[in-house]
Subunit: 207 residues, 2 copies
């Protein structure tokens, strides 16, 4: 008889086995990054502490790793607008009811990291990346599970999260492309905000 023995029994992540979640991370993020694995456990904890409500939006307080855990495990993506990245540089996420702003925030409790030397070294970058022991770190992530996190209730200020309006779209007289007219007479790119220079077929131009 053939058995698929789980490598990581006992722990589930939003209804998936831990091993299934590692596969999902690898498929989307393209490698099994510790931060995305930790993020999955945070999303799981957030789901178990949701306030009442049907539709939840999300905030990641870092650009690194955590947004992918949210995109893998929840309906929230960058492109559908239900995930916002507000880069406060903290490894924390919030799920909140989209109309009331009532939500739960999950964050890493720095004091609880004292019990986990590899996790502490990872979060506080105490050791250069090439000197880290990835296997020992992954073992601690699995064993620590959600014990290094705390949750708090939050009230999200919904007005802060509004994207600028694209209701009125104009054609920029310089580049000829559509842009939100609230940005002014010319588009942001033609005001020097683009991170590239470019070359159109009909000529060349600084972007």
């Amino acid at each position: 008889m053939h058995t698929n023995k789980a490598v990581h029994p006992g722990v589930t992540v939003c209804g998936h086995t831990y091993d299934q979640y590692l596969d999902m991370v690898n498929a989307f993020h393209k490698h099994i990054a510790p931060g995305v694995v930790i993020g999955g456990l945070m999303v799981d904890l957030a789901y178990r502490n949701l306030p009442q409500g049907e539709f939840f939006d999300s905030i990641s307080e870092t650009r690194s790793c955590l947004p992918d855990a949210i995109q893998i495990l929840t309906p929230c993506t960058i492109g559908n607008g239900w995930l916002k990245v507000i880069d406060l540089g903290r490894f924390a996420l919030t799920l909140f009811e989209k109309h009331s702003g009532n939500g739960v925030r999950v964050y890493v409790n720095s004091r609880k990291l004292d019990d986990w030397p590899e996790l502490k070294a990872f979060f506080f970058k105490l050791v250069p990346k090439k000197e880290q022991d990835p296997q020992a770190l992954m073992a601690e992530i699995y064993l620590a599970n959600t014990s290094i996190f705390d949750t708090m209730k939050v009230q999200v200020d919904l007005t802060c999260l509004k994207s600028r309006s694209r209701r009125d779209v104009a054609i920029c007289p310089l580049c000829g492309e559509g842009y939100p007219s609230c940005d002014g007479e010319i588009c942001l790119s033609c005001r020097g905000k683009a991170p590239f220079s470019y070359f159109r077929e009909s000529g060349s131009k600084k972007g």
Copy 2:
């Protein structure tokens, strides 16, 4: 004999059939949004015009829809850092070789939209959303395919894209959480940059 007849023959998106891509959009973005479908055709065109190189990063010039097409079809995600959203408000994307910055940008040519009334109304928001005809729009997206886009070579300024360093992580003396020490004596959240107020178990505090 059972046949799976394609609803949209002839058009492929990065090696997937058009119908497969619609399913992928639905699975990730949670509905078949016109902007993500259009974005997939843009990614496909970008891939066919890549400069030499092995590893490509990406830029989306809008937060809306386009980042999800990139995340569905390329290895680039927000969380692995290979996708950057630089919100210039234009429906355009760039794939670029990560070391040289040589890349290709794909954008909507506003003049070419004159041939496609539904696409023009969609991009320039000429009709309120509830008065749009979604089926007619989806038909035009399929028929127009990549004909409404242009490509241009770009040189990305790699220094502009660097995230701020998280090399040195400190514990914020106010909230007690880890944060990039380059942000100053206290973290950005405790300086009022968080979009929520929160309540810790041990007391309450403005976030």
